[in-house]
């Protein structure tokens, strides 16, 4: 009996302190917390997008929507490798990061701002840094609609909680590069052109004001008034609505009536 009381007390304490834990950035393994990033173009890309990440223990559910990326590469859908970069300055690079002044912030030049790769947002298979440049499991084409739940390692989780995580989506249209840059090889994969691996989109992961962002739309209708056969319905509906409103305090009543 005493044990039971104790566990209740612990549970209550845990619930009360969740907010505080999230605020201090300490690992909050029992809590779910969402993060969001608005993805802005780098290197003259014209793409844009958003990404939501909800962390539950070491499981991260990522939902991402991007449009406007380079569409094709060698007559195939353009692969856009994408990563969670960690432990840089928790920022996206500015044009000042273009050390060699070729007009492109390549992946290496961007690293002081966003840091090394913590996880790869691949479509299937491994999500470790080792999978960072595997083009076959990268989202491809001009748009990305990506949803995947992946396992994150401790350092990536800590970086996200410390506001030191940045989303980077790679792959530029070579035609948008300077003549100099068009002739350069990738700083990551020398067999590829520079455009293929350079950053196109970047966004800092910020903690969401709501603890868990719901996925997608809401099912808030059952169709009973869709295409109804009556202008007078409004009146009937209105009075029913009013009745429902009056009775809102007695939920059971309203429920049995509907």
């Amino acid at each position: 009996m005493k044990l039971k009381t104790l566990s209740f007390a612990l549970a209550a304490t845990g619930a009360m302190s969740l907010g505080a834990v999230a605020l201090t950035g300490a690992p909050a393994l029992a809590a779910t917390q969402s993060y969001q990033a608005t993805l802005a173009p780098l290197n003259h890309a014209t793409a844009s997008g958003t990404l939501m990440l909800t962390l539950n223990g070491d499981q991260a559910t990522v939902t991402e929507h991007v449009t406007g990326l380079a569409a094709s590469f060698n007559n195939a859908p353009y692969p856009h490798v994408q990563h969670i970069h960690i432990n840089g300055q928790g920022a996206c690079p500015t044009t000042a990061a273009d050390v060699n002044k070729d007009g492109v912030i390549n992946t290496t030049e961007g690293q002081p701002a966003y840091g090394p790769i913590g996880a790869t947002l691949s479509t299937t298979g491994p999500t470790t840094p080792a999978a960072a440049a595997v083009l076959t499991v990268a989202p491809s084409g001009p748009s990305i609609d990506y949803t995947r739940t992946i396992t994150l390692d401790a350092s990536t989780i800590s970086a996200i909680q410390a506001n030191k995580a940045v989303i980077v989506v790679h792959g530029l249209d070579p035609a948008t590069l300077s003549t100099q840059a068009q002739g350069e090889k990738s700083d990551l994969v020398p067999s590829l052109p520079l455009a293929a691996t350079s950053p196109a989109l970047c966004g800092v992961l910020a903690v969401s004001q709501m603890s868990t962002v719901p996925t997608g739309a809401a099912g808030t209708g059952a169709g009973g008034t869709s295409g109804l056969q009556d202008a007078g319905l409004f009146v009937i509906g209105g009075s029913l609505l009013a009745a429902g409103v009056v009775l809102f305090g007695a939920r059971r009543h309203a429920t049995t009536r509907s």
Partner: protein
């Protein structure tokens, strides 16, 4: 009630829930001088009851769950139940068609960030609590009574309809630099095959004035 509902089928003009007009599209956020200087993105303990000693966050109220909502311009007066998540990660909707609910993992209304309120547009047999949500206009008022006794009053800034296929997650659930509210219901065409509407009608509002 069911008798009244059935009688509708014998009437002859077509009627569906009001949908937002283009003129109501408005803006999702209207910066005001007092809230544009500092953007607070840190989350307070959303969903946990106010302790009574919790400080008021700059530009917004402390956390306190809402208990009732009133939208006089469309005749809505409802208690607010608390809503969590469905197993698929989407937001729960109220079991009753006649009561609205607060998504308890969003911020308390009046706290900095988006407070999410959901209500049904209809049941299988008639109008729901948010039947007329699409008839709201920018400037309309929404009053939310909180458990701490404070009423947070929001001003509608936009009313829009979004395809569920292209639900704008960041616009609806993303961080906002001031206290905001999002009232969500269903709209658009009804898919008889799935039993669901194809769109969500969402009214966006922001705190009208600091209490």
């Amino acid at each position: 009630m069911s008798d009244g509902m059935r009688s509708r089928s014998s009437l002859d003009a077509q009627h569906s829930p009001p949908q937002p007009s283009r003129a109501a599209a408005g803006s999702l956020y209207e910066p005001t001088p007092s809230t544009t200087t500092t953007i607070t993105t840190r989350r307070a303990a959303a969903g946990t009851p106010a302790s009574g000693t919790s400080p008021t966050t700059s530009g917004g109220l402390s956390a306190s769950p809402p208990v009732a909502i009133s939208i006089p311009s469309i005749g809505v007066h409802s208690a607010l139940i608390r809503l969590g998540l469905n197993p698929d990660g989407s937001a729960e909707v109220p079991a009753s068609f006649h009561v609205a609910g607060w998504y308890e993992r969003s911020v308390s209304p009046g706290h900095i960030g988006p407070a999410i309120i959901l209500g049904h547009v209809d049941s299988k047999s008639g109008p729901g609590i948010f039947y007329r949500l699409g008839a709201l206009h920018p400037g309309d008022r929404v009053a939310v009574t909180r458990a701490d006794g404070i009423t947070a009053t929001f001003r509608i800034t936009a009313v829009r309809s979004y395809s569920k296929q292209r639900f704008p997650t960041i616009d609806v659930y993303g961080n906002t630099p001031a206290p905001t509210i999002r009232l969500i219901t269903c709209g658009g065409a009804f898919d008889q095959a799935t039993g669901h509407y194809l769109a969500n009608v969402i009214a966006f509002g922001q705190l009208a004035a600091s209490p």
